[in-house]
Subunit: 377 residues, 2 copies
């Protein structure tokens, strides 16, 4: 009787109400029936994005929406700043290189995130930079960037701040309008508790002005077309109808819980995980660890290559391993989305069981107990 | 007690087994469990595409895959030929213009499809054309193009034949390898009986060679990356996991039915529809009408603007209306995908009921009877 638990930083577990709604007969997208669902979802997306501006839905993975921000804001040769502090920062770099932008790369070691001062310095040295590309939650390393601090700087500059919040939106605070973030990109399979296949992007007026003059070629990801269609509660191309139906259910659940309560829950569960792993003598990889994805160092003497596989195949709990140079050196656990205290307990139980299997010496039950103690407060 | 019937040319009805599979817990895509599903689906896709070459899965609507063919085959300034004979032909034109290709446009009236001789002439006049972009089933008009005849010509030329088979694949014959079609593009929400959100593309060696030298910028739709990942049963970006799980179920069903039986079923049901509407005195819009989407002229005196709405809202049967200049002049009915004889009967019943409501004079029951008679043969 397997009861798998998914504690990866995306895809995240999908609530049963949301799963069930995918079993309803498919509806045609050019009907008032679907348009009503689209309209409600679009409205509730604004709440989760904490913005008054429209949120565009794209049928793609998050990477497609990242690309859409580049090709809709920039023109060939534009100077841009991009932060590279992990796998997803690398993606910004690759995107800017693909489109022959004049790239100023801020390289950050993976074990921390970029500081507002570093953005400030780059902007002082490059006052003609048109866009600053950043990452809210760097899933590969577990770091959460100080977007509020960065937005304070970009707000008083001519540069547009683009935040990859594929991981982190609806998880950790991101007050788009209040902080003055110009562009926020996200995806369906993390905080939104949905299957992957939908991505989102919102832009403020500053960004939409830049969009008007951008000359990079685009068609499927042409946001001008998407904005025009969104006004009529539709999309230029056939959207992922079944996932939008699911999105609408998930957004109702999120709205009912309330955005502050969502942030608080993620903080509480993430802190319980941190207390649990620390009680086992483990250490965190990232000095800017946040509440999206917790990267834990594999202790000395433990075979990191076996860790994730054992947890998944023997104990039915799926974590993520390390990527790139971190392969075998960390494992990543996340309480993003549809995760509750019982999932955290099972996560820590699996960690303890695997550590025991791999010959790590620790006091059994101590990790679970620390998490439960914290949750009891 | 509404029992809606969807007879639009996409999205098409999803079988209950396939709908139900979307309710299973989401699985992580970087696991042997998901890779096994991916591998089986990729293998069975080849069967439906009638090719020995790999079929790439993209998380996007069909239009994304169309764009992927343009940006992965071409370089700026390349001469290409594109056929514009409807809404989806227009899409090729727009794509080629977006990427500043040297476009030779073959404009065809919407009520027929392009003839092989017209492609032959264009290729003779433009022997340096690198690609010929065509459409198998032009959903906007109901025409099905003679791809076999066109492939006979392109096969002996240096030009690459790209077929938009978003509509038509797994519905009407398209023998990719046997006919020598170089590139075939499709989408999930028509013949594959799935929700929209996945698209597919296959290329033969001739096309893949062109891909090696293409310099148009691409990232999300970079097929070289996709091919490299597909070898390891994965995708460069998080795929639409739940739709791939559904795809695997749908493909098993299609394989069990057999591709020839699938073609025969679509022909039989489409012919029953044609017999039915003709018995009511209606006429078909397209002289090259095929078995994908049947465009029927709205008879004189009948308010075409009301036709689709009435059928859907009063009689629970969804057809598609006309697009562009055909708005109000035709309605479109399709037996694509998960459609059986009872759906056709309900479709004809709805047509009769709406025609009666809109004051068209005909012998009631005659359309249904003609379809049933044909099906009895």
């Amino acid at each position: 009787m397997r009861k798998p638990v998914l504690l990866t930083p995306g895809p995240t577990q999908v609530p049963e109400e949301v799963l069930a709604s995918a079993s309803l007969p498919i509806m045609h997208h050019r009907t008032p029936q679907f348009e009503a669902i689209f309209e409600e979802a679009a409205e509730n997306l604004k709440y989760i994005f904490q913005t008054e501006n429209p949120v565009i839905m794209l049928t793609s993975s998050g990477t497609g929406a990242l690309e859409s921000s580049v090709i809709n804001l920039c023109s060939p040769g534009d100077k841009v700043i991009a932060v590279n502090g992990g796998k997803f920062g690398e993606r910004w770099i690759e995107l800017c290189q693909t489109y022959n932008l004049d790239l100023v790369e801020i390289t950050i070691p993976w074990h921390r995130t970029v500081k507002p001062e570093e953005i400030e310095k780059a902007l002082q040295e490059n006052p003609d930079a048109k866009v600053v590309f950043t990452t809210l939650s760097e899933t590969s390393s577990g770091g959460v960037t100080d977007i509020e601090g960065i937005a304070k700087i970009t707000r008083s500059s001519s540069a547009i701040l683009v935040v990859d919040a594929v991981s982190g939106l609806g998880v950790t605070p991101l007050y788009t309008d209040k902080w003055g973030v110009d562009v926020v990109v996200s995806g369906s399979q993390k905080g939104f508790m949905l299957p992957p296949g939908l991505a989102f992007i919102t832009m403020n007026e500053k960004a939409r002005k830049a969009m008007e003059t951008s000359t990079l070629p685009k068609y499927y990801f042409d946001l001008k077309k998407a904005y025009k269609n969104a006004e009529k509660n539709t999309t230029p191309w056939t959207p992922a109808i079944s996932i939008i139906v699911q999105l609408n259910i998930a957004l109702r659940m999120m709205k009912e819980e309330g955005i502050e309560a969502i942030y608080a829950r993620h903080h509480q569960l993430s802190e319980a995980i941190r207390q649990g792993v620390k009680a086992l003598g483990l250490t965190l990889y990232n000095e800017d660890t946040g509440d999206c994805c917790i990267a834990v160092n594999i202790p000395k003497g433990v075979d990191g290559g076996k860790f994730v596989k054992l947890a998944r195949d023997k104990y039915q709990v799926t974590f993520a391993g390390g990527q790139g140079s971190l392969k075998g050196n960390i494992f990543r656990i996340s309480a993003m989305g549809n995760v509750g205290p019982n999932d955290v307990i099972l996560g820590l139980a699996a960690i303890e069981r695997v550590l025991a299997d791999l010959g790590y010496s620790f006091e059994k039950g101590k990790g679970i107990a620390a998490a439960i103690d914290y949750l009891a407060k």
